[in-house]
Symmetry: C2
Subunit: 192 residues, 2 copies
């Protein structure tokens, strides 16, 4: 397999589409973030890489709390909009018609229309260069009742978006289930 | 929309399926990691959350270098296998028949059969609890020539896997392209 050197590039696929929320000067604002992932298991933590110039970042630093909301595929317009305009200029909540609610973490605004909402408190902010890596402890998760199956979140009902950048910047839904994890690889044990 | 409180849970969808590589005592080893994401843009960095007891972690600390390899969907068995057995007990490279090569970063073993390979040097290791968040600077990216379109990586050729845990732990390929990013949201500008 011939390999081509591409230089230092952030080629990770797929990335999640997250709406990160914070109150900025007392008003809820949301930005789209694809550069995020789970950072710890116990206690549960998430990381999101945000440019410190961003309006939402101001609110995160102000309150040391934030939220992570997972938009379903039918909210792709709202998710994209939140990634292209600044809350310093427009009221994204109003434009996107988000119904905002709060849980137990103060100043972590949650979007009712998103099937999954995580309330987070900041444990670290790491300046890495162009971005600051915000690591938050997940204090509570809310899931829409309509997206549960036998009491557990069901991705086939949540319909999360993946974000890919190559060759074009686009949103993709999840497709076919390829295999069960912690199971399909067992076949290779015969080769040990 | 009725919401159900689920407690503090790491509900992020989708997560990527990554094979993280390191040389442990001079021999290449790979583990499957879903808890990872882009951590910085300039310079490019990635984060992976690894339990410090893991064999691969030993090699990362030993050399302060590691690799990230993206398995295509037809390597789901190998990816799963690498997530279920320890390199302290078996030679995963042999069992999975990985062809290993190296780039410019020493002790960062790359898997030829994976269409995307990132060579990384460690910039931070953050103990967060059950996991250590390893933040690596991406020094070089290799992409299989067969997975390029007009000189750029093409996810429709790379065929990466997404990992989801709810309601079952499973691998899913990417599906339909929903919309173009930095574009579809523009429609909402009329509401500003």
């Amino acid at each position: 397999m011939v390999k081509v050197l591409m230089g230092p590039e952030t080629f990770i696929y797929p990335m999640p589409v997250l709406l990160v929320g914070a109150n900025v000067e007392g008003k809820p604002n949301f930005m789209a973030v694809a550069w995020g992932g789970i950072a710890n298991g116990v206690p549960p933590m998430i990381s999101v890489a945000i440019r410190p110039q961003r309006y939402t970042f101001k609110g995160i630093v102000e309150n040391m709390t934030f939220s992570v909301n997972i938009p379903p595929s039918d909210m792709v317009k709202e998710a994209d909009y939140c990634g292209t305009v600044s809350g310093s200029k427009v009221d994204k909540v109003k434009v996107c018609q988000f119904k905002v609610f709060y849980g137990k973490v103060e100043n972590a605004p949650l979007i009712e229309q998103c099937p999954v909402n995580l309330e987070c408190t900041v444990v670290h902010i790491l300046g890495l260069g162009s971005n600051s890596l915000v690591i938050g402890r997940i204090e509570e998760a809310h899931v829409s009742e309509s997206c549960l199956t036998d009491g557990k979140p069901d991705v086939s009902k949540i319909k999360p978006l993946g974000y890919v950048t190559s060759p074009a910047r686009q949103y993709q839904v999840l497709g076919e289930i390829t295999a069960d994890a912690f199971s399909v690889g067992a076949e290779l044990k015969a080769r040990e």
